[in-house]
Symmetry: C2
Subunit: 195 residues, 2 copies
DNA sequence: CGTCTATTTGAATGTACTCAAAAGCGGTGG
DNA sequence: CCACCGCTTTTGAGTACATTCAAATAGACG
């Protein structure tokens, strides 16, 4: 198993996986590389995979009735990404996932995921903590969306995720923040003017 | 253990807990009743409990810098509610949780929760699925917040949660939808006029 | 170097907000 | 049983932030 993944587990649950668990995971996770701009999931299609990013960048988005995409999540190295709705409900996908850079990933499919969780209490625990952390962060993000203005949301975002700001195009960050690229451009201008 | 909770588990993971697991849970969950308008959690105070509602209603909210509360979650019968941030990170709370009606709950504290999860793989699985479902729903809600207008969000909300509309005051529903009570009132008026 | 995409800028518009106040509703006590 | 009080909902008028539409500029890629 890749060192990156092992570290991800250790950091998340504060405990190292045993050799047995590492073997179990490696048996169900497969190394896959994708070039830039590859679609990893599409609305309407059942998303059978969860991706762990070893290298590169990707994002998931939802397309609104007017055809406008809205960013749900960004993923860089050490991030997990999937269409959670489709993957966990077994329903047709509702999100698009696309690589932003050439990406190297570890992939696990539904069956593998279920088997791993059933076979290892520790790994099920890991995934519980992982999704709990994601839930907490998402709840916070939603609260902020409703509470503070776009300018402040952008400031907090760039404080929290300077790496995202470096590597992700502005119009996707705007979408993530729930505003239009024009608005983000204006916000950045006024922020720059005020130093 | 209460039948309600057992059913909640069975429905969530599609499998009945064994008698052992029921005993384990009952040993760590305690029946507690609260009158209407009781605070179950407060910002700044470590939230040590997760509440499972047997009867009654409650909601969690975040207070913004201007002192305005913003609803994070509603809970009726069979719902779980806590300050996830405080409970899982062990940090001071960021949300307020308040009962809206006299409530009967099953309560579990951090230590109990950790013990139950460590002792029973099935129950850890249950809580993983539970939080995963919550995550999926929250992601969907956030996507909608950024995609569709308030009127449509309200329509979808009342379609999805007619029971909420019945039992929860309008100004809290407005807050949940990310708008002001005045705005929701106007939205309802125009919706009523257009039948 | 040319094309395609992303970002910036301007002007007009709209959705939801603020401020303000009236009306409605529910509970309590005289 | 009614009057009063507090809280919720409704309504009105003016405002603000972000949007839309439109176009120019800048940047990236082949």
């Amino acid at each position: 198993m890749t060192e990156r993944l092992k570290q991800n587990i250790t950091r998340t649950i504060g405990r190292e996986p045993t050799d047995n668990e590492c073997v179990l995971l490696s048996e169900h996770m497969h190394l896959r590389s994708f070039p830039r701009k590859t679609l990893l999931a599409q609305p309407g299609e059942h998303c059978r995979y969860v991706y762990f990013l070893l290298e590169g960048a990707a994002y998931s988005s939802m397309v609104d009735p007017e055809g406008e995409p809205h960013v749900v999540q960004f993923a860089l190295e050490n991030y997990w990404i999937t269409d959670h709705y489709s993957f966990f409900k077994g329903a047709p996908g509702i999100y698009t996932i696309e690589t932003l850079e050439d990406a190297e990933t570890l992939v696990i499919d539904t069956e593998g995921f279920d088997r791993v969780c059933r076979a290892s209490h520790l790994l099920e625990h890991f995934f519980r903590v992982l999704i709990t952390n994601a839930f907490v962060a998402l709840q916070y993000r939603l609260a902020k969306t409703n509470t503070v203005e776009a300018a402040e949301r952008y400031l907090e975002f760039s404080r929290l995720h300077p790496d995202f700001v470096q590597r992700i195009p502005q119009y996707l960050i705007a979408s993530y923040l729930g505003i239009k690229p024009q608005s983000l451009s204006r916000i950045r201008r006024t922020l720059a003017n005020d130093h």
